[in-house]
């Protein structure tokens, strides 16, 4: 199924995605260039990052034309990664707080 699908795509789609990726990278570079801070910086960085990652996986890797059986096989295990990230976020903040409580003079 994926084979026949990829044969039908015109080359133009890859050029368009390339331009989009380039524009999104430029946008995230601008976030740093203009030194945006705080929640605005983080929201923008993560939005641009997820859009770029989504385009690469969906179009360049032909993921959106794969069957659902393969999609779930690849997507569901990454839930475990999300859990790890959440746990380590809590853990990192906790370690930081403990270090301050015990190593800070005064």
């Amino acid at each position: 199924m994926s084979d026949t699908a990829s044969e039908q795509h015109p080359i133009g789609i890859y050029l368009k995605i390339w331009l989009l990726l380039f524009a999104l990278s430029a946008c995230s570079y601008m976030v740093d260039y203009f030194q945006l801070q705080g929640y605005l910086r983080w929201t923008l960085i993560i939005i641009f990052m997820l859009l770029k990652a989504g385009l690469i996986v969906a179009i360049f890797m032909h993921f959106q034309w794969e069957r659902l059986a393969l999609k779930y096989t690849l997507l569901l295990p990454t839930v475990a990664v999300m859990v790890l990230i959440a746990l380590m976020l809590i853990e990192g903040d906790y370690t930081f707080a403990t270090r301050h409580a015990f190593f800070d003079p005064g």
Binding site: S2, S6, W18, M61, H62
Partner: protein, 226 residues
């Protein structure tokens, strides 16, 4: 024997009911060439490795009591008297994205049977990848020269060095391996080795290459822009 054509005509239903019948029926679950499936599974395992690296980096950065070194300034370049923060990384990002684009086109031409264009585009991809590794070598030697070590650096939290060398080093290793992989496959395509087997191999090597680009998207966001 035939790998390029759809493997089984039973793969007709779309969506959830199709997934249930793919898993439930007395047949193979995935309607893709086995090499492609194995590459996807390998990339899933690689996703875990890079996720663990980045999560470890997040953890040490959150818990560091010293200030984190000014990443934007460390990777700045001065071009023609103009000081541009993160310029080196922007150039590397551009190179990698472009190489992903040429690789996607190579896959497309491979399935159309246009061997000449496939080989040219794969060669361009490999050259771009090699130049990325070259810039990374430049970046590493610049930082080492400035005194960055896995156990310390002149600007702040010692964890910066170890996270930097481990994450970009492992990514650079993947790019280097990818360049060699692409060069080998491109040579075999040129020789006509896949005329009978079909050109799924170009898509498989393309998956690997796009994954390298994908990982860079996350490294760029979390390591360089944080």
């Amino acid at each position: 024997m035939k790998t390029a054509e759809p493997v089984n005509s039973d793969y007709t239903q779309p969506g959830v009911s199709g997934m249930v019948s793919d898993w439930g029926a007395d047949k193979q679950a995935f309607d893709v060439p086995w090499g492609k499936l194995m590459m996807w599974i390998f990339l899933l395992s690689d996703t875990f490795i890079f996720s663990i690296f980045l999560t470890g980096y997040m953890n040490v950065r959150l818990s560091a009591t010293e200030p984190w070194p000014p990443v934007s300034e460390i990777f700045a370049l001065t071009v023609g008297g103009v000081h541009l923060p993160l310029l080196l990384i922007a150039i590397m990002t551009f190179i990698l994205i472009t190489s992903s684009g040429t690789m996607a086109m190579a896959v497309n031409y491979a399935y159309r049977g246009d061997r000449r264009r496939t080989v040219i585009l794969m060669a361009i991809t490999a050259v771009l990848g090699a130049s990325f590794v070259g810039l990374q070598a430049f970046e590493w030697s610049k930082l080492i020269h400035e005194g960055v070590r896995p156990w310390g650096n002149p600007w702040g939290a010692a964890q910066f060095g170890s996270a930097f060398f481990m994450i970009t080093g492992f990514h650079g290793l993947h790019v280097s391996a990818g360049v060699i992989y692409l060069a080998i496959i491109a040579r075999k395509v040129k020789r006509g080795d896949y005329e009978k087997k079909g050109y799924a191999i170009v898509e498989i090597s393309g998956l690997y290459w796009h994954f390298v680009d994908l990982v860079w998207v996350f490294i760029f966001a979390f390591f360089y822009l944080w």
